[in-house]
Amino acid sequence: MNTAHVPFQSMSDLYDNDICTEDEREAIRAHFNACLECSTDYVRLERTLQMVKECACSCCPPESLPMQIMRKIRLRRRRKLLAKSIPAMAASVLIIAGIGYFNTGVVPPSRQSVAIDSNIIGLLSDTEHVIDIIRKHNATISDVTDSYIEGTVPLASFKSLRRDLGFHKVAYVLVEESNQGVRDWGSAVEEVGADDVNYRIQGVPDTSVPKRYIRFRVYR
């Protein structure tokens, strides 16, 4: 029989049934029978590990634990899904709100284009209106530019034409023939508004003198 004490490692292996050979196991057991110190130590080891197990089993989780865990898992999954869908939801809301905003007319599709359109429409309609007035008074139109409409009207018709043109700015000069061009508009009379017309026909028209016309420009 081996008289040396059994090392703790071998006792631990014996407890775990981790000793390879039967002979070795028998030798340790034989030593325990002969050595009170080693056998006591082994009993203490057994008692220690038994108490550790008792200690672990002293407390059990509640029956409802699996249910609680599953509830938490579902809740967290829902939260994750929600968190994932937030950007998409936000984008949808923005798109819908944007479409609604435009459809309700709060913001026109393009402010600039609308402004241009209204200006052009206004300009065009005004030009047409002026041209209509001029034609009604037997006047001839010789030039239409972005800034004015030029024409010639018999002297007798000018007063009524001027009245009908209302608040348009008009420059005019007296010419002897209708087809005679005016080279220097610097000498022209300029006035704004029908009330400012101070053109006066001086005397009774004389048929012996050449026919006189008013060459005018109606500014926009």
Partner: protein, 192 residues
């Protein structure tokens, strides 16, 4: 592959296919061992419950990363061990063991045999449990977790080596030293 492990794999496949409720089987199977391990590490009933829940939640969330190179149980226990290790690191205050683990409503009272006919023995038993918990808790981290895995969870040396990612001889050495350490401490405290 053992029957137990193949059952686990079937459940995991179901969960991964979208049947979250199938995970309840995994919880049912591992809840006691997990709770016991966590409770032994943390020594606070309510904290242990919360941590047990977190471990299962973390497991289901990480399920896709389970590569099936080891048994599911081994993978699961490694999550459990690491969670507790990190938790203890963060919360060193849990090294102090509450003197009384019972609650006023009695719902979580220690489940020891009914010894009301011998109240003195019951008091001694409760006190012994308290001392053992204290001593387990005061073990060095390396010894404590390995002792709990072996002597509470009943895991094999190989499983422990895989869970803790250490060599088999290292596992054995730590188990022997931990047991010896604890035995000597209990002897000093007069429990042996």
């Amino acid at each position: 592959m053992s029957n137990s492990d193949s059952d686990d794999i079937k459940v995991i496949d179901k969960v991964l296919a979208g049947d979250v409720n199938a995970f309840a089987k995994i919880i049912e199977k591992y809840k006691d061992k997990t709770f016991n391990y966590v409770y032994s590490q943390i020594n606070d009933y309510d904290e242990a419950l919360d941590i047990t829940q977190e471990i299962f939640i973390m497991t289901i969330e990480a399920l896709r990363s389970f590569r099936r190179e080891s048994k599911f149980s081994t993978w699961f226990y490694s999550i459990m061990v690491n969670y507790c290790k990190n938790y203890r690191k963060k919360n060193s205050r849990y090294n102090v063991i509450p003197i009384n683990n019972t609650r006023e409503d009695g719902a979580y009272e220690l489940q020891i045999p009914d010894l009301r006919e011998n109240p003195e023995q019951e008091v001694i038993r409760k006190d012994s449990l308290r001392i053992i918990k204290e001593e387990i808790n005061s073990l060095p981290d390396d010894y404590r977790e390995i002792l709990l895995l072996r002597d509470i969870e009943g895991l094999s040396y190989n499983e422990i080596a895989e869970i803790l990612d250490i060599s088999l001889p290292n596992v054995k050495v730590r188990i022997h030293r931990g047991r010896e350490f604890l035995k000597n401490r209990l002897l000093e405290r007069g429990l042996l």
